[in-house]
Amino acid sequence: MNVFYNIFTNSLNLGLIYALLGIGVYVAYRVLDIADLGAEGVFPLGGAVTVLMIALGVPPIVAILIAFVSGGIMGLITGVLHTKLKIPSLLAGIITMVMCVPLAQLLNGITSSLNNQAKIGDFVGSITTPFMPTVFSFFRSFFGEWGYIVTSIIVIGVIIGALYWFFGTELGITIRATGKNKIMSRAQGINTDSRVIIGLAISNAIVAMSGSLYSQLMLTSNSIFGQGTIVIALASILLGEAIMLYGKPNFAVALLSVFVGCFSYMLVINLAMRLLNDNGYLKLVQAILFVLILCIPLFKKGFKNWQKKMKARRIDASA
Protein backbone atom coordinates (compact mmCIF):
# COMPACT_ATOMS: atom_id res chain seq x y z
CA MET A 1 0.00 0.00 0.00
CA ASN A 2 2.97 2.26 -0.66
CA VAL A 3 0.90 4.28 -3.12
CA PHE A 4 -1.79 5.14 -0.60
CA TYR A 5 0.81 6.21 1.94
CA ASN A 6 2.47 8.44 -0.62
CA ILE A 7 -0.80 10.03 -1.70
CA PHE A 8 -1.58 10.79 1.93
CA THR A 9 1.81 12.24 2.91
CA ASN A 10 2.29 14.19 -0.31
CA SER A 11 -1.17 15.73 -0.02
CA LEU A 12 -0.55 16.55 3.64
CA ASN A 13 2.84 18.10 2.95
CA LEU A 14 1.71 20.34 0.13
CA GLY A 15 -1.72 20.77 1.67
CA LEU A 16 -0.31 22.40 4.78
CA ILE A 17 1.77 24.90 2.84
CA TYR A 18 -1.00 25.77 0.43
CA ALA A 19 -3.40 25.95 3.38
CA LEU A 20 -1.26 28.75 4.82
CA LEU A 21 -1.64 30.46 1.46
CA GLY A 22 -5.39 29.86 1.68
CA ILE A 23 -5.51 31.40 5.15
CA GLY A 24 -3.74 34.50 3.88
CA VAL A 25 -6.18 34.81 1.01
CA TYR A 26 -9.04 34.15 3.45
CA VAL A 27 -8.20 37.29 5.42
CA ALA A 28 -8.66 39.38 2.30
CA TYR A 29 -11.43 37.42 0.63
CA ARG A 30 -13.73 36.52 3.51
CA VAL A 31 -12.88 38.99 6.26
CA LEU A 32 -12.39 42.09 4.13
CA ASP A 33 -14.53 40.89 1.22
CA ILE A 34 -11.83 41.86 -1.26
CA ALA A 35 -10.64 39.60 -4.09
CA ASP A 36 -6.92 40.38 -3.99
CA LEU A 37 -5.07 38.89 -6.94
CA GLY A 38 -1.78 40.23 -5.67
CA ALA A 39 -1.24 36.86 -3.99
CA GLU A 40 -0.09 35.40 -7.31
CA GLY A 41 2.91 37.70 -7.27
CA VAL A 42 3.50 37.87 -3.54
CA PHE A 43 3.77 34.07 -3.19
CA PRO A 44 6.88 33.75 -5.39
CA LEU A 45 8.22 37.04 -4.00
CA GLY A 46 8.22 35.48 -0.54
CA GLY A 47 10.23 32.64 -2.03
CA ALA A 48 12.75 34.94 -3.69
CA VAL A 49 13.27 36.94 -0.49
CA THR A 50 13.77 33.76 1.51
CA VAL A 51 16.29 32.22 -0.87
CA LEU A 52 18.30 35.44 -0.91
CA MET A 53 18.27 35.80 2.87
CA ILE A 54 19.34 32.21 3.45
CA ALA A 55 22.08 32.57 0.83
CA LEU A 56 23.30 35.60 2.79
CA GLY A 57 23.56 33.43 5.86
CA VAL A 58 20.42 34.55 7.66
CA PRO A 59 18.87 31.75 9.77
CA PRO A 60 15.82 30.28 8.00
CA ILE A 61 13.34 31.36 10.66
CA VAL A 62 14.49 34.98 10.39
CA ALA A 63 14.29 34.65 6.60
CA ILE A 64 10.65 33.65 6.98
CA LEU A 65 9.98 36.72 9.10
CA ILE A 66 11.65 38.97 6.54
CA ALA A 67 9.53 37.39 3.81
CA PHE A 68 6.49 38.03 6.04
CA VAL A 69 7.38 41.71 6.26
CA SER A 70 7.98 41.97 2.52
CA GLY A 71 4.51 40.55 1.88
CA GLY A 72 3.10 43.03 4.34
CA ILE A 73 4.63 45.89 2.41
CA MET A 74 3.11 44.59 -0.81
CA GLY A 75 -0.28 44.39 0.90
CA LEU A 76 0.15 47.96 2.10
CA ILE A 77 0.77 49.04 -1.48
CA THR A 78 -2.35 47.29 -2.72
CA GLY A 79 -4.33 48.85 0.11
CA VAL A 80 -3.14 52.36 -0.63
CA LEU A 81 -3.74 51.94 -4.35
CA HIS A 82 -7.30 50.88 -3.59
CA THR A 83 -8.30 53.26 -0.78
CA LYS A 84 -6.34 56.42 -1.51
CA LEU A 85 -5.97 56.29 -5.28
CA LYS A 86 -9.47 54.84 -5.66
CA ILE A 87 -8.28 52.06 -7.97
CA PRO A 88 -10.78 49.14 -8.01
CA SER A 89 -9.51 46.34 -5.79
CA LEU A 90 -9.22 43.86 -8.65
CA LEU A 91 -6.89 46.16 -10.57
CA ALA A 92 -4.97 47.17 -7.47
CA GLY A 93 -4.18 43.53 -6.79
CA ILE A 94 -3.13 42.96 -10.37
CA ILE A 95 -0.81 45.97 -10.24
CA THR A 96 0.89 44.56 -7.17
CA MET A 97 1.11 41.14 -8.78
CA VAL A 98 2.76 42.61 -11.88
CA MET A 99 5.20 44.57 -9.70
CA CYS A 100 6.25 41.47 -7.79
CA VAL A 101 7.52 39.50 -10.76
CA PRO A 102 10.48 41.73 -11.75
CA LEU A 103 11.12 42.37 -8.07
CA ALA A 104 11.46 38.64 -7.43
CA GLN A 105 13.72 38.30 -10.44
CA LEU A 106 15.96 41.13 -9.25
CA LEU A 107 16.29 39.40 -5.90
CA ASN A 108 17.12 36.15 -7.67
CA GLY A 109 19.77 38.06 -9.61
CA ILE A 110 21.34 39.25 -6.37
CA THR A 111 21.31 35.70 -5.00
CA SER A 112 22.89 34.51 -8.23
CA SER A 113 25.56 37.19 -8.04
CA LEU A 114 26.71 35.70 -4.75
CA ASN A 115 28.17 32.76 -6.68
CA ASN A 116 29.33 35.05 -9.45
CA GLN A 117 26.77 33.68 -11.83
CA ALA A 118 25.08 37.02 -12.48
CA LYS A 119 25.55 40.67 -11.55
CA ILE A 120 23.46 42.75 -9.18
CA GLY A 121 20.82 44.33 -11.39
CA ASP A 122 20.35 41.24 -13.56
CA PHE A 123 16.91 39.70 -13.71
CA VAL A 124 17.02 35.97 -13.09
CA GLY A 125 13.89 33.93 -13.53
CA SER A 126 14.67 30.95 -11.40
CA ILE A 127 17.24 29.72 -8.93
CA THR A 128 17.76 26.25 -7.55
CA THR A 129 19.58 25.90 -4.25
CA PRO A 130 19.58 22.22 -3.39
CA PHE A 131 21.89 22.39 -0.42
CA MET A 132 20.58 25.36 1.51
CA PRO A 133 19.59 25.08 5.17
CA THR A 134 15.86 25.36 5.67
CA VAL A 135 13.42 25.73 8.52
CA PHE A 136 12.53 22.10 7.94
CA SER A 137 16.05 20.84 8.66
CA PHE A 138 15.50 20.65 12.42
CA PHE A 139 12.53 18.32 12.56
CA ARG A 140 13.66 16.50 9.48
CA SER A 141 16.61 15.14 11.40
CA PHE A 142 14.21 13.51 13.86
CA PHE A 143 11.25 12.53 11.77
CA GLY A 144 12.48 12.37 8.18
CA GLU A 145 9.67 13.15 5.78
CA TRP A 146 7.24 13.75 8.62
CA GLY A 147 9.56 16.46 9.89
CA TYR A 148 8.33 18.68 7.07
CA ILE A 149 4.75 18.03 8.08
CA VAL A 150 5.45 18.68 11.77
CA THR A 151 7.19 21.97 10.97
CA SER A 152 4.33 23.14 8.77
CA ILE A 153 1.77 22.18 11.41
CA ILE A 154 3.63 24.28 13.97
CA VAL A 155 3.79 27.28 11.63
CA ILE A 156 0.12 27.05 10.73
CA GLY A 157 -0.81 26.60 14.37
CA VAL A 158 1.08 29.73 15.35
CA ILE A 159 -0.53 31.75 12.57
CA ILE A 160 -4.06 30.55 13.32
CA GLY A 161 -3.55 31.31 17.00
CA ALA A 162 -2.18 34.76 16.23
CA LEU A 163 -5.06 35.55 13.87
CA TYR A 164 -7.63 34.33 16.38
CA TRP A 165 -6.17 36.64 19.01
CA PHE A 166 -5.79 39.55 16.63
CA PHE A 167 -9.32 39.54 15.31
CA GLY A 168 -10.65 39.56 18.86
CA THR A 169 -8.83 42.78 19.73
CA GLU A 170 -10.42 46.17 19.24
CA LEU A 171 -8.43 46.71 16.07
CA GLY A 172 -9.34 43.29 14.77
CA ILE A 173 -13.05 43.73 15.46
CA THR A 174 -13.07 47.04 13.60
CA ILE A 175 -11.37 45.37 10.63
CA ARG A 176 -14.02 42.64 10.61
CA ALA A 177 -16.74 45.27 10.83
CA THR A 178 -15.23 47.12 7.87
CA GLY A 179 -15.38 43.98 5.78
CA LYS A 180 -18.99 43.30 6.71
CA ASN A 181 -20.54 46.73 6.45
CA LYS A 182 -18.51 49.73 5.43
CA ILE A 183 -21.32 52.25 5.87
CA MET A 184 -22.15 51.17 9.40
CA SER A 185 -18.46 51.07 10.29
CA ARG A 186 -17.94 54.64 9.22
CA ALA A 187 -21.05 55.62 11.13
CA GLN A 188 -19.37 54.09 14.19
CA GLY A 189 -16.29 56.21 13.75
CA ILE A 190 -14.08 53.57 12.12
CA ASN A 191 -11.56 54.77 9.58
CA THR A 192 -12.34 52.09 7.02
CA ASP A 193 -9.46 53.09 4.73
CA SER A 194 -6.82 52.36 7.33
CA ARG A 195 -8.56 49.08 8.24
CA VAL A 196 -8.49 47.90 4.63
CA ILE A 197 -4.81 48.74 4.36
CA ILE A 198 -3.92 46.89 7.57
CA GLY A 199 -6.07 43.90 6.60
CA LEU A 200 -4.48 43.59 3.16
CA ALA A 201 -1.02 43.94 4.69
CA ILE A 202 -1.72 41.01 7.01
CA SER A 203 -3.21 38.94 4.20
CA ASN A 204 -0.26 39.39 1.88
CA ALA A 205 2.23 38.91 4.69
CA ILE A 206 0.81 35.44 5.33
CA VAL A 207 0.82 34.68 1.60
CA ALA A 208 4.50 35.64 1.41
CA MET A 209 5.16 33.41 4.41
CA SER A 210 3.60 30.45 2.64
CA GLY A 211 5.70 31.25 -0.42
CA SER A 212 8.72 31.25 1.84
CA LEU A 213 7.87 27.76 3.13
CA TYR A 214 7.26 26.57 -0.40
CA SER A 215 10.65 27.76 -1.62
CA GLN A 216 12.27 25.99 1.31
CA LEU A 217 10.34 22.84 0.52
CA MET A 218 11.24 22.79 -3.18
CA LEU A 219 14.68 24.40 -2.70
CA THR A 220 13.99 26.79 -5.51
CA SER A 221 12.86 30.32 -6.23
CA ASN A 222 11.00 30.53 -9.48
CA SER A 223 8.83 33.46 -10.46
CA ILE A 224 6.43 31.26 -12.41
CA PHE A 225 5.53 29.19 -9.36
CA GLY A 226 2.93 31.76 -8.37
CA GLN A 227 0.67 30.88 -11.25
CA GLY A 228 -2.47 29.14 -10.22
CA THR A 229 -2.06 29.84 -6.51
CA ILE A 230 -5.21 31.95 -6.33
CA VAL A 231 -7.23 29.09 -7.78
CA ILE A 232 -5.83 26.66 -5.20
CA ALA A 233 -6.48 29.13 -2.38
CA LEU A 234 -10.06 29.86 -3.39
CA ALA A 235 -10.79 26.18 -4.02
CA SER A 236 -9.47 25.38 -0.54
CA ILE A 237 -11.58 28.07 1.11
CA LEU A 238 -14.77 27.11 -0.68
CA LEU A 239 -14.29 23.37 -0.34
CA GLY A 240 -13.45 23.76 3.34
CA GLU A 241 -16.58 25.78 3.95
CA ALA A 242 -18.69 23.24 2.10
CA ILE A 243 -17.29 20.33 4.08
CA MET A 244 -17.05 21.77 7.53
CA LEU A 245 -19.17 24.79 8.03
CA TYR A 246 -22.66 24.41 9.30
CA GLY A 247 -24.10 27.68 10.49
CA LYS A 248 -21.38 30.10 11.49
CA PRO A 249 -18.78 28.65 13.84
CA ASN A 250 -16.00 30.67 15.40
CA PHE A 251 -13.06 32.15 13.59
CA ALA A 252 -10.51 29.47 14.50
CA VAL A 253 -12.75 26.73 13.12
CA ALA A 254 -13.26 28.74 9.94
CA LEU A 255 -9.48 28.96 9.48
CA LEU A 256 -9.11 25.24 10.15
CA SER A 257 -11.69 24.56 7.48
CA VAL A 258 -9.31 26.18 4.98
CA PHE A 259 -6.77 23.49 5.79
CA VAL A 260 -9.39 20.74 5.53
CA GLY A 261 -10.45 22.10 2.15
CA CYS A 262 -6.86 22.34 0.96
CA PHE A 263 -5.94 18.84 2.09
CA SER A 264 -9.04 17.37 0.45
CA TYR A 265 -8.34 19.27 -2.75
CA MET A 266 -4.75 18.00 -2.83
CA LEU A 267 -5.96 14.45 -2.21
CA VAL A 268 -8.33 14.61 -5.14
CA ILE A 269 -5.70 16.16 -7.41
CA ASN A 270 -3.14 13.53 -6.44
CA LEU A 271 -5.64 10.77 -7.09
CA ALA A 272 -6.58 12.27 -10.43
CA MET A 273 -2.89 12.45 -11.29
CA ARG A 274 -2.57 8.71 -10.76
CA LEU A 275 -5.42 7.91 -13.05
CA LEU A 276 -4.33 10.24 -15.82
CA ASN A 277 -1.18 9.12 -17.53
CA ASP A 278 -0.72 12.42 -19.21
CA ASN A 279 -0.82 15.40 -16.86
CA GLY A 280 -1.94 17.48 -19.79
CA TYR A 281 -5.50 16.63 -18.86
CA LEU A 282 -4.87 17.45 -15.24
CA LYS A 283 -5.42 21.16 -15.79
CA LEU A 284 -8.80 20.37 -17.30
CA VAL A 285 -9.62 18.19 -14.33
CA GLN A 286 -8.56 21.02 -11.98
CA ALA A 287 -10.87 23.43 -13.76
CA ILE A 288 -13.83 21.05 -13.66
CA LEU A 289 -13.14 20.35 -10.00
CA PHE A 290 -13.12 24.05 -9.26
CA VAL A 291 -16.51 24.49 -10.93
CA LEU A 292 -17.90 21.53 -8.98
CA ILE A 293 -16.66 23.04 -5.73
CA LEU A 294 -18.33 26.33 -6.59
CA CYS A 295 -21.58 24.46 -7.25
CA ILE A 296 -21.61 22.61 -3.93
CA PRO A 297 -23.95 25.13 -2.25
CA LEU A 298 -26.30 24.60 -5.20
CA PHE A 299 -26.15 20.83 -4.79
CA LYS A 300 -26.78 21.14 -1.07
CA LYS A 301 -29.86 23.26 -1.69
CA GLY A 302 -31.12 20.91 -4.37
CA PHE A 303 -30.58 17.95 -2.06
CA LYS A 304 -32.48 19.65 0.76
CA ASN A 305 -35.39 20.46 -1.55
CA TRP A 306 -35.42 16.86 -2.76
CA GLN A 307 -35.50 15.67 0.85
CA LYS A 308 -38.42 17.97 1.58
CA LYS A 309 -40.29 16.67 -1.43
CA MET A 310 -39.73 13.09 -0.34
CA LYS A 311 -40.94 13.90 3.15
CA ALA A 312 -44.05 15.60 1.82
CA ARG A 313 -44.78 12.63 -0.38
CA ARG A 314 -44.46 10.25 2.53
CA ILE A 315 -46.82 12.36 4.60
CA ASP A 316 -49.33 12.43 1.75
CA ALA A 317 -49.08 8.70 1.26
CA SER A 318 -49.63 7.95 4.92
CA ALA A 319 -52.55 10.39 5.20
Binding site: F166, E170, I173, A177, N181, A187
Partner: protein, 268 residues
Protein backbone atom coordinates in the same frame (compact mmCIF):
# COMPACT_ATOMS: atom_id res chain seq x y z
CA UNK B 1 -27.85 77.82 22.46
CA UNK B 2 -27.66 76.93 18.83
CA UNK B 3 -26.39 73.44 18.26
CA UNK B 4 -26.61 73.36 14.50
CA UNK B 5 -26.26 76.24 12.08
CA UNK B 6 -26.65 75.64 8.40
CA UNK B 7 -25.64 78.66 6.35
CA UNK B 8 -26.25 79.00 2.64
CA UNK B 9 -25.94 75.27 1.99
CA UNK B 10 -26.04 74.34 -1.67
CA UNK B 11 -25.70 71.00 -3.45
CA UNK B 12 -26.29 70.00 -7.05
CA UNK B 13 -26.08 66.45 -8.34
CA UNK B 14 -24.68 66.07 -11.82
CA UNK B 15 -26.46 63.15 -13.41
CA UNK B 16 -25.30 62.70 -16.96
CA UNK B 17 -23.37 65.74 -18.02
CA UNK B 18 -26.30 67.63 -19.42
CA UNK B 19 -26.86 70.67 -17.26
CA UNK B 20 -30.60 70.50 -17.88
CA UNK B 21 -30.65 67.12 -16.10
CA UNK B 22 -28.77 68.30 -13.01
CA UNK B 23 -30.61 67.95 -9.76
CA UNK B 24 -30.40 71.01 -7.55
CA UNK B 25 -30.95 69.04 -4.38
CA UNK B 26 -30.29 71.72 -1.75
CA UNK B 27 -30.91 75.33 -2.72
CA UNK B 28 -29.04 77.88 -0.59
CA UNK B 29 -30.61 76.52 2.53
CA UNK B 30 -30.44 78.20 5.92
CA UNK B 31 -31.43 76.46 9.11
CA UNK B 32 -30.81 77.03 12.78
CA UNK B 33 -31.44 74.40 15.39
CA UNK B 34 -31.44 75.04 19.11
CA UNK B 35 -30.29 72.70 21.82
CA UNK B 36 -33.00 70.26 22.72
CA UNK B 37 -35.02 70.76 19.53
CA UNK B 38 -36.75 67.67 18.20
CA UNK B 39 -37.39 68.53 14.56
CA UNK B 40 -39.49 66.53 12.14
CA UNK B 41 -38.93 67.11 8.43
CA UNK B 42 -41.46 66.21 5.78
CA UNK B 43 -41.61 66.71 2.05
CA UNK B 44 -42.19 64.87 -1.17
CA UNK B 45 -39.60 62.60 -2.69
CA UNK B 46 -36.76 64.61 -4.10
CA UNK B 47 -37.38 67.55 -1.80
CA UNK B 48 -33.90 67.15 -0.41
CA UNK B 49 -34.67 65.75 3.05
CA UNK B 50 -32.31 62.80 2.90
CA UNK B 51 -29.67 64.84 1.10
CA UNK B 52 -29.77 67.29 3.97
CA UNK B 53 -29.14 64.54 6.49
CA UNK B 54 -26.35 63.10 4.36
CA UNK B 55 -24.71 66.51 4.18
CA UNK B 56 -24.89 66.97 7.93
CA UNK B 57 -23.55 63.46 8.54
CA UNK B 58 -20.81 63.91 5.99
CA UNK B 59 -21.55 61.17 3.47
CA UNK B 60 -21.78 63.88 0.82
CA UNK B 61 -19.94 67.19 0.50
CA UNK B 62 -21.74 70.45 -0.23
CA UNK B 63 -20.88 72.69 -3.16
CA UNK B 64 -21.29 75.81 -1.07
CA UNK B 65 -22.10 76.83 2.43
CA UNK B 66 -21.23 75.98 6.00
CA UNK B 67 -22.47 73.53 8.55
CA UNK B 68 -21.66 74.67 12.05
CA UNK B 69 -21.98 72.52 15.10
CA UNK B 70 -21.38 74.51 18.29
CA UNK B 71 -20.02 77.24 16.05
CA UNK B 72 -17.43 75.02 14.45
CA UNK B 73 -17.62 74.38 10.71
CA UNK B 74 -17.61 70.63 10.24
CA UNK B 75 -17.68 70.55 6.44
CA UNK B 76 -14.02 69.62 6.34
CA UNK B 77 -14.33 66.80 8.86
CA UNK B 78 -14.59 63.33 7.34
CA UNK B 79 -17.77 61.41 7.96
CA UNK B 80 -16.26 58.74 10.19
CA UNK B 81 -14.90 61.44 12.48
CA UNK B 82 -18.23 63.24 12.70
CA UNK B 83 -19.75 60.13 14.23
CA UNK B 84 -18.13 61.20 17.46
CA UNK B 85 -20.79 63.79 17.94
CA UNK B 86 -23.47 62.69 15.47
CA UNK B 87 -25.62 59.58 15.88
CA UNK B 88 -27.47 58.11 12.92
CA UNK B 89 -30.24 55.64 12.37
CA UNK B 90 -30.77 54.60 8.76
CA UNK B 91 -33.99 53.57 7.06
CA UNK B 92 -32.71 50.09 6.28
CA UNK B 93 -32.27 48.01 9.45
CA UNK B 94 -29.60 46.00 7.62
CA UNK B 95 -27.33 48.99 7.09
CA UNK B 96 -27.31 50.22 10.63
CA UNK B 97 -26.06 46.96 12.13
CA UNK B 98 -23.87 44.05 11.13
CA UNK B 99 -26.06 40.97 10.79
CA UNK B 100 -23.29 38.38 11.00
CA UNK B 101 -21.85 39.76 14.21
CA UNK B 102 -23.33 39.36 17.68
CA UNK B 103 -25.57 41.98 19.25
CA UNK B 104 -22.94 42.68 21.89
CA UNK B 105 -20.24 43.03 19.23
CA UNK B 106 -22.38 45.61 17.43
CA UNK B 107 -22.92 47.52 20.65
CA UNK B 108 -19.23 47.30 21.38
CA UNK B 109 -18.49 49.07 18.10
CA UNK B 110 -20.88 51.85 19.05
CA UNK B 111 -19.46 52.01 22.54
CA UNK B 112 -15.88 52.69 21.41
CA UNK B 113 -17.01 55.31 18.91
CA UNK B 114 -14.84 58.36 19.22
CA UNK B 115 -12.21 56.63 21.32
CA UNK B 116 -8.87 55.52 19.97
CA UNK B 117 -8.40 51.92 18.86
CA UNK B 118 -6.05 49.69 20.79
CA UNK B 119 -4.88 46.13 20.58
CA UNK B 120 -6.59 45.34 23.82
CA UNK B 121 -9.03 42.49 23.73
CA UNK B 122 -12.46 43.80 22.73
CA UNK B 123 -15.66 42.76 24.50
CA UNK B 124 -14.73 42.83 28.16
CA UNK B 125 -17.03 41.24 30.69
CA UNK B 126 -18.06 44.42 32.52
CA UNK B 127 -19.23 45.89 29.24
CA UNK B 128 -21.89 43.22 28.94
CA UNK B 129 -23.64 44.44 32.08
CA UNK B 130 -23.48 47.98 30.76
CA UNK B 131 -25.10 46.97 27.47
CA UNK B 132 -27.82 45.06 29.30
CA UNK B 133 -28.65 48.19 31.29
CA UNK B 134 -28.95 50.14 28.08
CA UNK B 135 -31.29 47.64 26.43
CA UNK B 136 -33.57 46.90 29.38
CA UNK B 137 -35.58 50.16 29.27
CA UNK B 138 -36.66 49.38 25.70
CA UNK B 139 -38.96 46.72 27.09
CA UNK B 140 -38.28 44.28 24.25
CA UNK B 141 -36.29 41.68 26.16
CA UNK B 142 -33.23 42.41 24.05
CA UNK B 143 -30.96 42.50 27.10
CA UNK B 144 -31.18 38.70 27.12
CA UNK B 145 -30.15 38.36 23.49
CA UNK B 146 -26.71 39.98 23.56
CA UNK B 147 -25.05 36.69 22.61
CA UNK B 148 -27.16 36.17 19.52
CA UNK B 149 -26.36 37.18 15.99
CA UNK B 150 -27.93 40.47 14.98
CA UNK B 151 -29.62 38.92 11.99
CA UNK B 152 -31.78 36.78 14.27
CA UNK B 153 -33.54 39.93 15.43
CA UNK B 154 -36.55 41.36 13.62
CA UNK B 155 -36.36 44.65 11.72
CA UNK B 156 -37.99 46.59 14.52
CA UNK B 157 -35.69 45.04 17.13
CA UNK B 158 -32.64 45.87 15.00
CA UNK B 159 -33.76 49.48 14.65
CA UNK B 160 -34.25 49.69 18.39
CA UNK B 161 -30.72 48.44 18.99
CA UNK B 162 -29.40 50.85 16.34
CA UNK B 163 -31.21 53.64 18.13
CA UNK B 164 -29.59 52.65 21.40
CA UNK B 165 -26.22 52.46 19.67
CA UNK B 166 -26.69 55.87 18.10
CA UNK B 167 -27.52 57.52 21.40
CA UNK B 168 -25.06 55.64 23.59
CA UNK B 169 -22.41 58.32 23.78
CA UNK B 170 -24.78 61.27 24.08
CA UNK B 171 -24.26 62.76 20.64
CA UNK B 172 -24.73 66.46 20.00
CA UNK B 173 -27.07 65.58 17.18
CA UNK B 174 -29.25 62.58 16.42
CA UNK B 175 -30.21 62.02 12.78
CA UNK B 176 -33.14 59.73 12.04
CA UNK B 177 -33.64 59.06 8.33
CA UNK B 178 -37.13 57.59 7.92
CA UNK B 179 -36.08 54.98 10.40
CA UNK B 180 -39.53 53.39 10.69
CA UNK B 181 -40.40 53.47 7.02
CA UNK B 182 -39.28 49.89 6.40
CA UNK B 183 -41.22 48.47 9.35
CA UNK B 184 -44.79 47.24 9.57
CA UNK B 185 -47.26 49.70 11.24
CA UNK B 186 -47.37 47.93 14.62
CA UNK B 187 -43.58 47.71 14.92
CA UNK B 188 -43.21 51.25 13.61
CA UNK B 189 -45.43 52.47 16.45
CA UNK B 190 -43.29 50.68 19.02
CA UNK B 191 -40.05 52.04 17.59
CA UNK B 192 -41.48 55.57 17.50
CA UNK B 193 -42.53 55.29 21.11
CA UNK B 194 -39.05 54.13 22.07
CA UNK B 195 -37.50 56.92 20.00
CA UNK B 196 -39.60 59.50 21.76
CA UNK B 197 -38.66 58.14 25.19
CA UNK B 198 -34.95 57.99 24.43
CA UNK B 199 -34.86 61.49 22.98
CA UNK B 200 -36.88 62.96 25.85
CA UNK B 201 -34.88 61.25 28.56
CA UNK B 202 -31.48 62.39 27.27
CA UNK B 203 -32.82 65.67 25.91
CA UNK B 204 -31.14 64.95 22.59
CA UNK B 205 -31.17 67.45 19.75
CA UNK B 206 -32.83 65.40 17.04
CA UNK B 207 -33.70 65.71 13.37
CA UNK B 208 -36.20 63.15 12.14
CA UNK B 209 -37.09 62.79 8.48
CA UNK B 210 -40.40 61.06 7.98
CA UNK B 211 -42.97 60.30 5.35
CA UNK B 212 -45.68 59.93 7.92
CA UNK B 213 -47.42 63.27 8.44
CA UNK B 214 -49.20 62.11 11.56
CA UNK B 215 -45.90 61.22 13.20
CA UNK B 216 -44.44 64.50 12.01
CA UNK B 217 -47.15 66.41 13.81
CA UNK B 218 -47.32 64.19 16.87
CA UNK B 219 -43.65 63.99 17.75
CA UNK B 220 -41.14 66.72 18.31
CA UNK B 221 -41.42 70.41 19.03
CA UNK B 222 -40.76 71.75 15.55
CA UNK B 223 -41.88 70.81 12.05
CA UNK B 224 -40.19 71.69 8.79
CA UNK B 225 -41.56 71.13 5.32
CA UNK B 226 -39.14 70.96 2.40
CA UNK B 227 -39.62 71.21 -1.34
CA UNK B 228 -37.08 71.61 -4.13
CA UNK B 229 -34.20 71.88 -1.71
CA UNK B 230 -35.68 74.70 0.30
CA UNK B 231 -37.50 75.07 3.59
CA UNK B 232 -41.00 76.20 2.73
CA UNK B 233 -42.67 75.95 6.10
CA UNK B 234 -41.34 75.99 9.65
CA UNK B 235 -43.50 75.97 12.73
CA UNK B 236 -42.98 75.08 16.39
CA UNK B 237 -44.57 74.47 19.78
CA UNK B 238 -48.21 75.50 19.96
CA UNK B 239 -48.67 76.21 16.28
CA UNK B 240 -47.24 72.76 15.53
CA UNK B 241 -49.34 71.01 18.13
CA UNK B 242 -52.51 72.40 16.61
CA UNK B 243 -51.74 71.33 13.06
CA UNK B 244 -53.84 68.77 11.25
CA UNK B 245 -52.87 66.64 8.30
CA UNK B 246 -55.39 68.37 6.05
CA UNK B 247 -53.89 71.73 6.90
CA UNK B 248 -50.43 70.47 6.04
CA UNK B 249 -51.57 69.24 2.65
CA UNK B 250 -53.19 72.57 1.95
CA UNK B 251 -50.09 74.43 3.06
CA UNK B 252 -47.97 72.36 0.68
CA UNK B 253 -50.14 73.20 -2.34
CA UNK B 254 -50.16 76.87 -1.40
CA UNK B 255 -46.42 77.09 -1.11
CA UNK B 256 -45.43 75.09 -4.13
CA UNK B 257 -48.40 75.23 -6.45
CA UNK B 258 -48.01 71.44 -6.57
CA UNK B 259 -50.03 68.65 -5.11
CA UNK B 260 -48.41 66.27 -2.65
CA UNK B 261 -48.03 62.84 -4.28
CA UNK B 262 -50.46 60.13 -3.24
CA UNK B 263 -47.84 58.04 -1.46
CA UNK B 264 -47.31 60.80 1.07
CA UNK B 265 -51.00 61.56 1.57
CA UNK B 266 -51.91 57.91 2.00
CA UNK B 267 -49.25 57.52 4.66
CA UNK B 268 -51.45 59.01 7.32
Amino acid sequence: MQVLDIINLDKTFILDGQTANNKHAIDHLNLHIDEGDFITIIGSNGSGKSTLLNLIAGSIEPDEGQILIDNENIVAIKNHRRSRFIGRVFQDPMIGTIGDMLVEENMFLAHRRGKSTTLRWGLKRNQKAYFEDLLKPLGLGLENRLGERMKNLSGGQRQSVTLTMATMNNPRLLLLDEHTAALDPETAKIVMRITNEVVKKAKLTTIMVTHNMRDAIRYGNRLIMMADGKVIFDCRDEEKANLTVEELIKKFSEKTGDVLPDTVILNK
